[in-house]
């Protein structure tokens, strides 16, 4: 089986989807009375033009890649985790609570806050996997519906119990400078969290490609029945994979709270739609960790560019949300694209 030839087909489908989505988007921009070329020009310029654009893109890419990875880990094994948002929020909340409770602990507090966040997100996700195995509750629906109570619980706590009364806003108090994730000092707000996510991506790629667990994940994702026949304990794998997926989401929550907001602010993790963008990134990447990195940076660039586009051309930046959704819609049909691509006879390729 030739891996290279497969890769070119693997890559051409998402690229085709992106291209087609950009064309559709252009038609859409024109239909709402704007100039598509000017809008796209401003978008590219904002995302990649100059240092500040690149750093802003990478800062934005941190939670997007993180949530993409969280979702991809579950998708790869065939488990639809739509609950990234709730897992992210609970992780962020847990990290803030630990950081507020132990302000004097320095690096130890940071580690503990991150670990607590990962356990919180992981348990929330794993409970959905457990319910599917034990009670037949479909993961797709339970993970999605569990977002709402998680969000509302966090919102309740920072509105009532944990509210920073002085600020007058629904948020916890500020966490001590010693327990924050430091900025990398490259200008913008790029912080240590970006490196943590990068390490997570590489680790996930290694685990999925090279380890026994990774093999089980891939096999179960391709065909759960076959994997079961081959001796994989699928429910147990699902429990572990969902815990890992939720833990990664929790990690992203901790990183945003400790590195960017320095407190838990109601809605700060849900309004930017990190979880949903991450989910789209996972779908675009075919749930491959390195693909998640590439697709995550790409979506971050589209969003960062969206802000610049809005300033320059009066096209609302929410256009980037439309573009992203169109890309995923087209990716969903990529099997059809693929068969179109394969249909053309190619030289030097053996099946």
């Amino acid at each position: 089986m030739s891996r290279r030839a497969g890769l070119s087909v693997e890559l051409s489908a998402p690229l085709l989807a992106v291209g087609a989505a950009l064309l559709l988007g252009a038609a859409f921009i024109a239909a709402t009375g704007h100039d598509p070329l000017a809008a796209y020009g401003a978008l590219v310029n904002g995302a990649l033009g100059g240092r500040s654009g690149v750093w802003a893109t990478l800062t934005r890419a941190t939670p997007i890649v993180g949530m993409g990875l969280a979702t991809a880990v579950a998708f790869r094994a065939g488990f639809f985790n739509l609950g990234g948002e709730g897992q992210l929020v609970l992780g962020g909340l847990a990290s803030a609570l630990v950081a507020l409770a132990l302000p004097g602990g320095g690096a130890l507090t940071i580690l503990l806050a991150i670990a607590t966040a990962m356990v919180a997100g992981g348990l929330w996700a794993a409970s959905a996997a457990w319910s599917q195995d034990r009670f037949g509750v479909p993961l797709l629906l339970s993970t999605l519906l569990m977002n709402y109570p998680a969000r509302l619980l966090a919102s309740y706590l920072v509105n009532h119990r944990l509210r920073d009364v002085e600020s007058g806003l629904p948020q916890t108090e500020r966490i001590a400078p010693a327990v924050r994730l430091g900025e990398l000092g490259v200008g913008s707000r790029l912080h240590v969290g970006a490196l943590i996510i990068l390490v997570a991506v590489i680790a996930a790629a290694f685990v999925i490609r090279r380890t026994r667990v990774g093999y089980r994940i891939r096999m179960t994702g391709l065909n759960a029945r076959f994997a079961r026949a081959g001796g994989v304990d699928v429910p147990r794998l699902g429990l572990g994979v969902m815990f890992g997926s939720g833990a990664l989401a929790g990690l992203v929550g901790a990183i945003q709270v400790l590195g960017v907001h320095h407190r838990f602010i109601d809605g700060s993790l849900t309004q930017p739609l990190w979880a949903w963008t991450g989910l789209m990134v996972a779908l675009l990447s075919g749930s491959r960790p390195l693909g998640v990195l590439a697709a995550g940076v790409f979506f971050a660039a589209v969003q960062t560019g969206g802000f610049a586009m809005e300033r320059a051309t009066a096209v609302p930046r929410e256009l980037s949300r439309v573009l992203q959704a169109l890309i995923i819609l087209l990716v969903a049909a990529q099997e059809s694209f693929r068969s179109l691509l394969r249909w053309r006879p190619r030289a030097g390729r053996s099946a």
Partner: protein
């Protein structure tokens, strides 16, 4: 003692108002389920309907135009779903997710580019749906507020439930639709076009979700708020499962979920924190998933 006090006229009145959007969307989901398509795009279809309803009502100054726009808008989005899921054979779950995200992105984009506002759009030019007072029944205690004084869409939803039951089990179209869902190959052998029936079910679900959206944005309130469907489309997906894709069962499930929502609304009036009362419908919906042991279904 306190608990019984909650079941008063205002609760009775809000029950159908809250249950109807879920019911209309769930009927759409039911038709798709019966045709063998898992439609998790109900949320997005409903949202598209809610936005289009406000747009139509604002432009033409009539709630009827709003309803027509709502149906047209949601059907258009449903046609996109059908194109990608049926014709291009995309994974239904991925297409459904993309449709939800597309609807949420599009409505926010259009909200800004058409009305120049963020978050919510409210204008005196938007005409809400009228309410109908039923003769005789209106004056009755408890039953009056429960059944009377609602928008036409609420009565339409109850009629649609009965119509779905009849078409599904008493009409040849329903028989073929179920055949397509239960055994597509057999249906094809008998000369029934699987694609056509799936398109039909998806477009019908678009129309029903459009009505659901209109009830949300022109019935329960008279404005559009970003993501105002707030998970009701997902609750409708659960209602289809919980009601075993049976119109009567689905109606019962939607009444239960509507009751939870109106209870939450009532409790908020009694100084309960809104975050806790808002969580109630989702918790009950989750609980219903535990009660219902789903058969192993085709998954992703």
């Amino acid at each position: 003692m306190e608990v019984l006090g909650l079941f008063d006229a205002s609760l009775a009145n809000s029950l159908l108002r809250f249950a109807t959007p879920i019911l209309l969307a769930a009927l759409g989901g039911l038709l798709c389920e019966r045709a063998g398509v898992l439609n998790i795009g109900l949320e997005g279809l409903m949202l598209a309907g809610a936005f289009s309803a406000v747009l139509g009502s604002y432009l033409w100054g009539s709630s009827l135009a709003g309803v027509a726009f709502a149906v047209a808008g949601a059907v258009l989005v449903a046609a996109t779903f059908a194109l990608f899921a049926v014709t291009l054979r995309g994974n239904e779950i991925v297409v459904g997710i993309a449709i939800n995200l597309l609807a949420s992105g599009l409505t926010v984009y259009l909200l800004r580019s058409l009305f120049g506002v963020k978050g919510a759009f409210q204008d005196p030019a938007i005409r809400g749906l009228p309410t109908i007072r039923l003769p005789w029944i209106d004056g009755l205690p408890l039953v009056g507020p429960l059944l009377s004084g609602h928008t036409p869409l609420i009565y339409l939803a109850l009629l649609a439930t009965a119509a779905t039951q009849l078409i599904l089990f008493r009409h040849v179209v329903g028989l073929r639709l179920r055949g397509v869902g239960e055994h597509a190959e057999a249906a094809t052998t008998l000369g029934v076009s699987v694609a056509r029936y799936r398109y039909g079910a998806l477009l019908a679900s678009g129309a029903l979700c459009g009505l659901a959206g209109a009830q949300l944005s022109l019935g329960n309130v008279t404005l559009f708020v970003e993501n105002m469907s707030a998970g009701r489309g997902w609750i409708a997906v659960v209602a289809v499962m919980f009601g075993r894709a049976h119109p009567i069962g689905v109606l019962a499930a939607c009444l239960l979920f509507g009751l939870t929502e109106s209870l939450g609304f009532r409790l908020q009036g009694l100084q309960m924190p809104s975050q806790l009362t808002d969580a109630l419908p989702y918790l009950v919906t989750l609980a219903s998933l535990f009660l219902f042991r789903a058969q192993a279904r085709r998954g992703g």
